[in-house]
C-alpha cells in the first residue's frame, strides 16, 4: 500500500495511508501515515460504529493539513474495544503463503520467545 501511495504522490496526488502496520514505512518510505492499532480488516473502526469511524477518518484527514515532512507517521489516539487476544481477524482458512512458510514462522516465534 505504501508503494501505491508513493506512486500517487509522484503523479501529483496527495495521500494519507491509514494503517495498523506503520513499520512498513521504515522499509519503503510512505509519504503520510495515520497509524492506528485496529485489527486487520477493520482499519476504520467497528461494524456499524458510524460515530467512531467518523472520528478516525477526521483524524486521518487532518494529517493532510498538518504533516510537513515526507515520511511523517502520526499515531492516532484510538484504542480498539477488544483485547488483542479476543479480536478475530484471521481468515477462515490459512492463507497459501502462510502454509508455505509455516515452519519458518514457527521458528521465528520460538526464537522470539527465548
Amino acid at each position: 500500500m505504501g508503494l501505491v501511495a508513493r506512486f500517487l504522490e509522484e503523479n501529483g496526488l496527495s495521500t494519507v495511508v491509514l494503517t495498523m502496520v506503520p513499520e512498513f514505512n521504515r522499509e519503503i518510505g510512505i509519504p503520510r501515515i495515520a497509524a492506528i492499532e485496529y485489527p486487520f480488516g477493520r482499519v476504520v473502526g467497528e461494524v456499524n460504529d458510524d460515530a467512531g469511524q467518523r472520528d478516525v477518518l477526521r483524524a486521518a484527514l487532518s494529517i493532510l493539513e498538518t504533516a510537513e515532512t515526507p515520511g511523517e507517521v502520526v499515531h492516532l489516539p484510538f484504542t480498539w474495544h477488544e483485547a488483542p487476544a479476543e479480536t478475530k481477524w484471521h481468515p477462515p482458512e490459512i492463507s497459501p503463503v502462510i502454509k508455505l512458510y509455516l515452519a519458518e514462522i514457527k521458528k521465528a516465534g520460538a526464537e522470539a520467545r527465548k
Binding site: M1, L3, V4, F7, L8, E9, G12, L13, S14, T15, V16, V17, L18, T19, V21, E23, N25, R26, E27, I28, G29, P31, F40, G41, R42, V43, V44, G45, E46, V47, N48, D50, Q53, L57, L61, S62, L64, E65, P70, G71, K88, W89, H90, P91, P92, E93, S95, P96, V97, I98, K99, L100, Y101, E104, I105, K106, A108, G109, A112, R113
Partner: protein, 159 residues
Amino acid sequence: MPPSLSAWMAKSIPENDFSGDIPWTPLKRPVSETVFALMTSAGISMKTDSPFDMERERREPLWGDPTYRKIPKTAVETEIDVNHLHVNTDYVKQDMNVILPLKRFIEFEADGTVGALAPTAYSYYGYQMDPRVLLNETMPRVAADMRAEGVEAVLLTPT
C-alpha cells in the same frame, strides 16, 4: 497479529528509518475544499464485475491478483463481493465502511468536512509479493481514472 507471525515479519523490516527520497505532493487547498477518492486493498469488487482471482493464488502462493476494480461511491453491501485470503472478510461484508468508508465520506461531503468525494472508488488486492504489474500497469490506469474525475487527494486503507 499472532506473536510468531509478527516476529517473522519483523525480520524483513529494517530497524532504521527510511533514508531515501519520499515523493511528496502537498495539499493544494484545505481538506474542506479538496476532492477525494478512496482506495483500499481489500479485494472488493462489484457483483457485476469479475471477482479477484483466489484460485490462482491457491495454486501459486507467491502470486497475488495485480488488477483493480472500480467501485461507485453509491455502492452498498448487497452489491459487493469481497475476496481476500489473508484476513477475515466477514466484517466488510456487514459494513463496508470498516475498510472502504464511502458512506462516511458522503456524510463528510454533505457537512463540508471534505470538498467532494469523487464518483469512483478503487479496490485492488493487498497481497503483492512482486508489485511490478500493480505499479507499472494497474496504478497508471487508476491515476488516469482519478485525474479524469478531478481527484486531488486519496485516502488509502489496507486490509
